[in-house]
């Protein structure tokens, strides 16, 4: 075991962590976005990831449409799903006590997860030949093509959302709504529509993450468990309610999981993530780049 081998292993783990982290960031994005826009914590967020992966699976199995080509089908579908979630559930609990809001999305989590159980069964499903095959050499380390594509698309999604929020009239209206709903309403901004749109964007972005993950990650009804905590860890690490916070947090979590996990103890890789999450909550709940309240 020479130092060179260790360095290779480290580089490999770090690069994989970075790439996975970008996908985690995309999973966390919608969670953080909703939290920021309307101060609602969506415990069911990762269930939409699971559903999106099933959607990708069925599009592939039934229509032989590759995950990449499925994105234009799956993502708009989930946008509508997010929009519906807002109107059917979230709108009614907006002014309720915090505990009630937590319980409502907790009920949604149960509903979606066990709905998937009943519909698809408990088996793990995945189609490893679904995505583009092959790998690309990056800094002398081979990286599977689907992962590289996933990372690139995730970055593009972050760029797109940032541009939308900063450059478009609707995006600015949404920021205004996030800062003060009543003032925004007074200025003639349709805050209801803004909230519904935010939910659409949130769920669409997590669906995009699902479609990107699908070629190298198998789906079962319970994958939401781990992903929910990973997403929350990313959001809290970066600073909740912030788009850039999700990006920074997601990358950090990906690196922690892969680098510490690979180099120290693979069985404990999620333990590191959760431990850092809890420590962060206790020590600096406003996140790495957030401002103290």
């Amino acid at each position: 075991m020479g130092a060179a081998v260790d360095l290779d292993l480290f580089l490999h783990a770090a690069l994989n962590g970075l790439i996975l982290g970008l996908v985690y960031a995309l999973v966390a994005l919608g969670l953080s976005f909703i939290w920021g826009v309307m101060d609602v914590v969506n415990l069911a967020h990762a269930e939409y990831l699971m559903l999106a992966m099933y959607a990708t699976y069925w599009v592939w199995t039934l229509g032989r449409i590759s995950p990449g080509a499925a994105i234009p089908i799956v993502v708009p579908l989930f946008f509508v799903l997010g929009w519906l979630t807002y109107h059917l559930l979230v709108r009614r609990i907006l002014r309720a006590a915090l505990a009630t809001q937590i319980f409502a999305t907790f009920g949604l989590l149960f509903f979606l997860r066990y709905g998937a159980f009943a519909a698809f069964g408990p088996n793990v499903r995945g189609v490893l030949e679904a995505g583009p095959a092959g790998s690309v050499l990056l800094f002398g380390v081979p990286v599977a093509t689907p992962k590289l594509i996933a990372a690139a698309v995730s970055l593009a999604a972050f760029g797109g959302l940032t541009l939308f929020l900063r450059r478009t009239k609707t995006g600015r209206a949404m920021q205004a709504t996030a800062q003060n709903r009543d003032v925004a309403l007074g200025l003639g901004i349709p805050t209801e529509r803004m909230y519904a749109l935010a939910w659409g964007i949130s769920i669409a972005s997590v669906a995009l993450a699902g479609a990107l993950l699908f070629p190298f990650y198998q789906v079962s009804p319970t994958i939401g468990d781990a992903f929910l905590l990973i997403a929350f860890a990313s959001v809290v690490l970066g600073g909740f309610g912030r788009v850039d916070g999700a990006l920074v947090g997601g990358i950090c979590i990906g690196l922690v999981e892969n680098v510490l996990g690979t180099l120290l103890l693979p069985t404990f890789k999620l333990l590191f993530v959760f431990a850092i999450f809890v420590l962060m909550l206790l020590v600096r709940p406003e996140g790495l780049i957030g401002e103290p309240q």
Partner: protein, 612 residues
């Protein structure tokens, strides 16, 4: 009269529940001698066990409102403690269960001490993560069998000393005993002071702290009690299934099921978790048996839908639905109450005339200072909110604190009462120094405070709100758990409510009061324990002139009874008539002080306040 209030308050809430529980208990004791169906007995065992755990969860998650998604940790600790102690050391579970409970309490305090500081959804997330962390640790810990799990030694079976049997009936009774224990604990907490305090801090922790309730101590207490009860259930479960591993006793599924039962049954009620367990577990077990393995999860879809429905429509769950039907009768009888109240108020109206004291300030107070502030400063980033403030408030006076918006008046109050930590300076209350004040220690030292915004506990009755204001110094957790309200507080509270015209409304929810009545109630809550010094933050803001007159009359009366006041107020007419002495604050500094007439003529005051 005092006895009347206590029994009326307790009796109204308890009687139907107590009858239901007694009847249910009698049926359940007889049942296993009539029905021998194993499936049915197994289902009821689970009902009792999960009912007991939901009851335990309800203490921290329902009453205290700190949502835990990690209670499987305590369940698992109980199961493992029982199994390891029996398997490795031959220790009877009668002892092992309590050792397990002790370990769970320790873990709950280690988790709770830092985590209960957090905002509520962060606490929920932290418990979710801790549940996963524990499971991963136990999956990889060889001493407790790691992923392979533990078999319980079978040679101890059918001996009462080891709590293991071949028949299901003894387990049935063990679990029933656990449910009775948990329900008993919950009922004791609910009926006594502790239950009221927990529900109060659930709604507004700062306000509860300012009344002298040590909120963090109560949250830790509820958490520890909850962990201990859950742990006992874990031990019994291990003895029942005879094999445990992290997947069957530390699964997130268990944590979530406990929450589901308490939520659908009705949180912060004694009967809710019992109803919830009956409904959820029986439904779950029977749909599973009817639909077979393929139907697994159908019941859970329904539970998810139910929880969403409960969140939107009826936060008190099944109990709320049942009460709603009962309420219709209540409403009919209570219809007369508002009339009675308004008559009383009308009768109380002429009182101001009987109190013909002119609006001029009374005699100057005695020379002894109640509050001594020296060199107090507080900076927020680039803003010096309070700058080197020094002043005294004398025993018996009403002192006004006025100044333009942003002068630092409320920040000053916050520094005095522990909501902000001052950068420099000293505060002496009643001659003793307040070094690192917390809201509740300030209250214990003899300082009461009302807030600028309305801070009463909307879901508590008027009487319960008031009783939150009783003396908490030296109260102790056991006293609060095992005793009703202090007799002195009840007597004084009765008189106080009578004088404020709120006595006939004492069983109403505080949210049903008018804005002015809520203002009066918030003052009553703070003065119930007769603090030496009362800080009032804009007592007449947003009330009409008639009510403002009534509030100032009450302040004068309380002052005559010996309470010293420091009052922030923007209504110049009111404060000039009320106060014996005025402090004028601007830009974080005390610029002028003196009798009202002098302050009104003060050049700087006129310039800064009236813009002349």
């Amino acid at each position: 009269m005092t006895r009347l209030t206590a029994s009326a308050a307790a009796g109204r809430r308890m009687t139907p529940q107590a009858w239901f529980l007694l009847g249910l208990g009698a049926v359940l004791v007889v049942l296993p001698f009539i029905v021998h169906d194993t499936f049915f007995l197994n289902a009821l065992f689970l009902v009792f066990l999960f009912g007991a755990m939901a009851q335990a969860w309800n203490l921290i998650g329902g009453y205290a409102g700190q949502i835990s998604f990690g209670h499987a940790v305590f369940f698992g600790l109980g199961a493992y403690a029982g199994a390891v102690l029996l398997g490795r050391y031959g220790l009877s579970p009668w002892l092992g269960a309590w050792l397990g409970a002790a370990i769970s309490v320790l873990v709950s305090l280690v988790i709770g001490f830092p985590a209960l500081r957090l905002r509520r959804h962060f606490f929920a997330l932290a418990t979710l993560a801790l549940g996963e962390i524990m499971r991963i640790l136990f999956l990889n810990w060889p001493y407790v069998g790691a992923a392979i799990g533990l078999y319980l030694p079978l040679e101890y079976r059918n001996r009462f000393a080891y709590l293991m049997w071949d028949s299901k009936v003894p387990y049935y009774f063990t679990a029933l005993a656990l449910l009775s224990l948990a329900t008993g604990v919950a009922a004791v907490v609910d009926r006594h002071r502790a239950g009221v305090y927990l529900r109060a801090l659930n709604q507004d922790e700062d306000a509860a702290g300012m009344l002298g309730i040590p909120t963090r101590r109560y949250k830790l207490y509820a958490m520890a009690l909850s962990a201990a009860l859950t742990s006992l259930c874990g031990t019994v479960y291990a003895l029942y299934v005879l094999y445990i591993d992290p997947y069957n006793v530390m699964a997130g599924r268990i944590s979530l099921l406990i929450v589901v039962i308490a939520l659908i049954g009705g949180r912060a009620t004694v009967i809710g978790p019992v109803l919830g367990a009956l409904f959820i577990i029986l439904l779950s077990e029977y749909t599973r048996s009817w639909l077979g393995g393929a139907g697994g999860g159908v019941d859970f879809i329904l539970f998810g839908a139910l929880i969403m429905g409960v969140s939107i429509r009826e936060p008190r769950g099944l109990v709320g639905l049942l009460r709603r039907r009962g309420f219709k009768q209540d409403a009919a009888t209570e219809e007369t109450a508002p009339i009675e109240a308004s008559v009383q108020q009308a009768a109380a109206k002429p009182q101001p005339d009987r109190d013909p004291r002119p609006a001029s300030p009374g005699p100057r107070a005695s020379g002894e200072p109640v509050l001594r502030i020296a060199g107090l400063s507080k900076r927020f980033g680039g803003v010096q909110a309070v700058r080197d403030v020094t002043f005294q408030v004398y025993r018996g006076e009403i002192c006004g604190l006025i100044g333009p918006n942003g002068a630092g008046k409320t920040t000053l109050f916050d520094c005095l009462t522990g909501f902000q930590r001052p950068d420099r300076g000293s505060v002496h209350l009643n001659g003793s120094s307040l070094r690192h004040p917390m809201p509740h220690t300030t209250a214990w030292a003899g300082c009461g405070r009302t807030f600028q915004a309305m801070r009463i506990f909307a879901d508590l009755t008027v009487w319960e709100n008031l009783m939150c204001g009783q003396e908490h110094r030296g109260e102790g957790l056991w006293r609060a758990t095992l005793h009703g309200h202090a007799a002195a507080a009840e007597t004084h509270g009765h008189a106080l409510l009578e004088s404020l015209g709120l006595w006939s409304l004492r069983h109403r929810l505080a949210s049903a009061l008018s804005y002015g009545q809520q203002k009066l109630l918030s003052i009553a809550m703070a003065v119930l324990r007769e603090p030496a010094l009362m800080l009032l933050d804009e007592p007449v803001a947003g009330v009409n002139p008639v009510l403002a007159e009534e509030i100032t009359r009450h302040i004068r009366r309380l002052n005559a009874q010996g309470i010293t006041f420091l009052v922030i107020e923007h209504n110049m007419e009111v404060i000039m008539a009320l106060a014996h002495r005025i402090l004028f604050m601007a830009g974080g500094e005390i610029i002028a002080q003196g009798p009202p007439g002098e302050i009104q003529r003060h050049e700087k005051v006129r310039e800064l306040y009236y813009g002349r």
